[in-house]
Symmetry: C7
Subunit: 288 residues, 7 copies
């Protein structure tokens, strides 16, 4: 490569043509990338992904718009897009400049080695980012949860406020808003799908007559559901499963009621109150 | 490479032929990949994998269809397929374009280096995805669980609702639906295979006559199983293993009954109630 | 490569031109990098990122200036910038020197291999740094929190003092200042967004009449909010959710009040005091 | 490489011969790989590995056949084998096709770079799979456990049902079947090798005369073993080690009996019952 | 490369010149590196970094000198420097020797591959070292703590004794000296910045009149601060926040006083004593 | 490379010679590797490593032979060796075949790329294996423990049964045999080196006269050691260290006796019994 | 490369010379490496590192010799050295052989690829080893602890017995010897540097008069130190810090005494005994 014979005019011309080709391709590539990013960050991408999400009870289109399309979010998305666009511009033009250097006979190995060290650090450091986006895409595609669902993400438990490609936003019972990176979510528990179950575990003293206690609890639960107006919430009669546990403090009597999703907590509270009151009225000893 | 002699017309023609060859191969490759993805995402792949799954008790073909073949799931699978297809198209045409650039004499090292940095980040970030799919394929091939089985996946305990290549869906006792990434499952506990065992540990005061208590418990368990109509559920007579533990609160008397899978909890509750009642009737002190 | 034919004068001249070109490009590249770093470290970058942050209640521009633009912080940012600039200078001139060596016919493979080993260690070691910066950029872009917000970063709980690209600074209730690396933050809980909820869990003895206790608690909470002048703080009437828990020590009665962000703790304390006093006055047994 | 002189007919012929050679080698290689996989998945490999496993007490050849050679398992193994075979076919023919492309003068660098990115993701994602198989091979070679052994794998405790190359199957005391990936097993505890020890820790009040209690316990244990017919199970007389612990609740008297493997729990239960009865009869205060 | 035509004398001369050039560059490079290391390890580097550290209360220049410039530390730094210098010498001369081998026509690929394996192990093993140094540099640049600050590093809590590039040294309350690697510090809590807060949580019985108890506690705290001569330590009057907690044992009354950094513990003790005494004098029941 | 000029007969001959050379070298290399593996797996390697292990008390050569040289272990080692030998054969001949392909003009890049993807997965998956062997070699070289030592490996506590290159085998107090991978052992606690210490912590009520209790305990311990015939076991008189702890339940009086390794538990039990008896006789209140 | 023109005799000679050069360099390189390893493993290296370690109280040269220079350790070091030497020999001669192959025209790419796969596994597996040695070197250079120091390494707490490059050996209070790999030590706590502090926390009932209790405790501590002959051990008068904690069981009174390193435990025990006795004599209620 060094000390090669003098270039002819013809070769110079060809080199010039190649450099010009590189520049043209780089400009075109940047334009395409910027357009794609702009398109995606304008929100055209995510709704495209979510059109197949099922219609959930009580989640109107207005809610979806609030979640994905409000003005401030659009502005924020544009900012993110322009930052990513700048990064892409630097990468594309840096690559094109290096290629042009190579066309005029410079040995590129040292430049590529230096870029490799930087790239190694950046590539390793960015793997979390990629993981977050890939997890987000698949979670949306698999429709694991939608805005308004009550979920348990491990790190955060509450109601989904926003489903993003990188982070999911959840508001918990104390009104705290949690931003969870999608890549850190290993399992999702969704309490708003198809049906739910209210579970009441009544602690009983170990010398209780379980059969009697179960009968009392069952009728109290059924009566309580009617009286409290939970008729439309429950999908079946209360079931007493029987003695669930036999440990030092006593036994546990488990009682379940299948409900509409989102109504399990109200039903559970009603049943708890009624069963405890009935057992006390019946002088069954609670293990408290 | 730079300043090489002027190309002859012949060489130009050959270069054109090579570029055309690249384009043709790329178009063909994309067509094949898109077809394979479509085939797989239409559900033809997974059922092929699951045909060897054993027929489980109470899981009808209708259940399987519900799990794998319903309309909405098919639609969702097509969406996933089209997203993956777009990614493959970008990768294949990008590669072909770079190859064509190389054929006309451009030094590709900088482009490949830039692609390498992106590829490193994407490759690292995507390893979880690959791990999930590989784990899913092997778990299905090894038939570790099927729809309707009661399982313990560590992160989630309940009944399998769907077996997917990337995620498994489980509904727990409170009706919550858990999406667990297959790659995060280190061990699977399946309570629905061949047989199950109901285990009852009765806490006894430390000064109890164990031999007597064991006899009382055993006959009460046997009687209870008959009276409660669990005859078809149990696969053997109750076994009293004896004193299992000797700690500060007292001793534990362990009693086991082998049952049909899925019936262990009902049998366990019945036996618990009967044994506790019999011991109380016999004035054996429970360690409560 | 070795034992190649003697270079002609012409080739020598061309090599000299190439080396000169390398030097010129290196000097220019360094100048550009130094200028960009100086620009960014002078604080021009971060404010550019944060202009889209929403205006929060009670956070004035003066606060922002205090957080981002004070003299000492500017000086510190310049120092960081000059350190990074020196690193970039070493990298750029080292690369250029190696390229010049290559142009005069030296086999660069050993140098590049040695650089690769160093680069591997540095690249791996620096991935945390890159991760911190990338996380910081996205957290700022997504506006997860701002100066003055009360947050739970897992490692630290308190009020945000400074939002940096690499670290976030939080002051906790005991006045301790926490520096948290952005890359170690997996989820962010922000208690200062839109609204908050004061949650009071009253422990009741298991034989309490819950309906009565709930009525007493609700009216006491409403009265207390009025008397304590929290009228402007709350966004709705107190809600008694009912029996929340049924464990050995008794039951829990849960009561919530939606409030302005930042006022939840004051409201919660007021409600706690009033409800406890009212229940005591009503002779309802607390499970203490 | 580009713009090289026109190929002679001779060169074209030679290229054709090389391509034909590649195709032949690829077809042969695929045939060999498919045959090896079929051979291995037909179960010929694992038994070959396990022939040196020691004959354990009570594990008949029938058990081994049940574990490795039943019809359904054979069918499942063939399915796994055909899936792996398809993957190998794709890899081999894809490689051959790329080589043929290279022989006709196409620059392969972009294809290899694209394959490298995919390969990086797959290679990283597949490392767990490789780890599982390597761990399985060594665990089988080192004969750490066999079908019927009682083991503690950390994730699962119970009886080995199947020893596989990727997963080990264990059934626990409640009849639950655990599938544990071999690569996640860091240590194996095997309770069925050579001999076992029944350990009974009797909690004593702190003001007990230990020497007396030890004498009582020792003779009760020896008598109990004889009376309960454990003569063939134990490999030595019971040993009282003395006061093992001195904590707030009192002291612990430890007593051990060496037994045949698998008999330790029955012996332990017998000894526990006898020693507790004897101490109670002797009015030694237990720390319960 | 092999069997290349015989070298001319001219080529031999040029090869000699190239080898000589390599040796000269290597000697120069080593000299520069040794000088830089010596300069840095003589302590010239770290003080340069720390000149912008703010002046803390009570940390004199003498303290800084003690921390960075004592004779023994200088000697130790020189030893570290000479070890690093030897490593650099081996690396530089080994690289130069390999380059010279390459100039005389030896195929270097096997040497580079062998070096690569070693380099991979060393590079991976050294990443912790690099991480420690990078973390240390940024923690010093960001001025997270200085000598004399009271910090919580997670692994160690106490007073900073030395701020190093690789390790930070902390002395805890029991006089134990902790060496913490900077790269293992995920978050830093600094109790010595700007101000601190003394927090006193008084446990009250659940049937306490909180309003009265708060008034008693507040005046007792204010009086105690005056009497104990903490006037210069506190930056504001004590604040009673009210009932902080409502759990089984009772309620908690929280009281805070903002203080000068470092004085919070003394103030906290004084306030604790005074408030407890005042509440006891007032016959308010503490939840002990 | 493609379309190169027609080979002369001479070139064909030379290619043939090169291929023959490759085959010969491969056959020789395989023979050497198989011999080395056979040598090592016949146990010649490990004993060579362990000859410098110190002679421990009570570990005879017969024990060592039992640990390393029994017939079954030799057979198992040969099986392991033959498996590794097969793997080496495949690797060597595969490499040789690929080299021969390369000598006849085939572009090897695609084959090497495919091998690289497989190699990446295998290399990553095998790192645990390598780590285990390297850890094992160094643990044996550093003589951290030998057969018969009582050790705490974190995962397993008991007596060493076998020291292997990949796994260490420990039998615990309940007779369970633990196989621990050497690479997972982060620290080793060895209770059989040079000497041991029996430590007895006596819990005392907080209002005990410690000086008196210490005197009573010390003389009781000394007397007990004599009477129980532990004269040869102890290396020094019992030492009462004094009040070790001051927590809610009371104080702790610590007493230590230095003993021969392996005798600490017997001495500890004796001393415990005697001290407790003496304190009771002296009416010192124990904190039980 | 294949089918290259026939070599001239001259070229054959030159190839022979190159191969001879490779052999000579390999033999020389091996000799140098073996000598360096022998030098280092003979202990010349470590003492060279440790000469700057400060002289600690009570650590004589004899101790150092015992730690680094005894006959058995020297023998062990030589064995380690010879094992490493064999590994280096294999690596160097394998590399040289491959280079010679390359000089006679063999395509080395497949050999290097095969070596790369092995190297990847070994390199990854060996990173822990490298990390251990690097950590050890820096811990020795930074003089974090020496033989005889009392340290807390997280995994092991006790007295340093040996400071090694790969492992540190600690003997704990029960005489157990811990081998801790240096790379697993994240922080080191050293209780033997400059001074130590005896800390006594006295639990007081919540209705105690703290001022009085503090006065009693302080004078009792001072008197006890004098009477117990700890005058030379303490570096200052006892300090009563005041009420340290205010939780359910009561308050804690903290008292500290600065002592010589190593004397803190004796002083602490003395002070504990005296303070408890004095408070009891003064009828101050301890919270036991």
């Amino acid at each position: 490569m060094p000390f090669s014979p003098a270039p002819t005019l013809d070769a110079l011309v060809r080199t010039g043509v190649q450099v010009a080709l590189i520049v043209v391709v780089a400009v075109l590539a940047r334009a395409v990338v910027i357009r794609v990013i702009g398109h995606a960050s304008a929100g055209a991408g995510v709704p495209g992904l979510v059109t197949l999400l099922r219609r959930r009870r009580g989640i109107t289109d207005a809610d979806r718009i609030r979640a994905f399309g409000s003005a401030r979010r659009a502005q924020r998305a544009r900012t993110v897009g322009s930052v990513i666009g700048n990064a892409a511009t630097i990468l594309i033009f840096g690559t094109a400049f290096t290629m042009a250097l190579g066309q005029v006979g410079v040995n590129l190995a040292p430049v590529l080695a230096a870029a490799g060290v930087l790239g190694l650090a950046v590539g390793f450091g960015a793997q979390n980012l990629v993981r977050d986006f890939l997890s987000g895409i698949f979670m949306i595609l698999e429709d694991q949860y939608g805005v308004g669902d009550t979920v348990d993400l491990g790190d955060a438990v509450g109601t989904i406020e926003r489903v993003g490609l990188r982070t999911t936003t959840v508001r918990d019972v104390a009104g705290m808003v949690w931003y969870v990176r999608n890549g850190t979510i290993e399992r999702v528990g969704n309490a708003s799908q198809d049906h739910a179950v209210a579970v009441v575990d009544v602690p009983l003293a170990i010398d209780t007559d379980i059969t009697h206690a179960a009968a009392v609890a069952e009728s109290a639960a059924a009566a309580g559901i009617d009286e409290a107006g939970h008729g439309a919430d429950v999908l079946g009669a209360p079931q007493v499963l029987g003695a669930e546990q036999l440990r030092a403090p006593g036994m546990t009597l488990r009682l379940t009621v299948t409900t509409e999703p989102g109504r399990q907590w109200a039903v559970q509270r009603t049943v708890t109150e009624r069963v405890v009151a009935a057992l006390r009225a019946d002088e069954v000893a609670l293990a408290a």
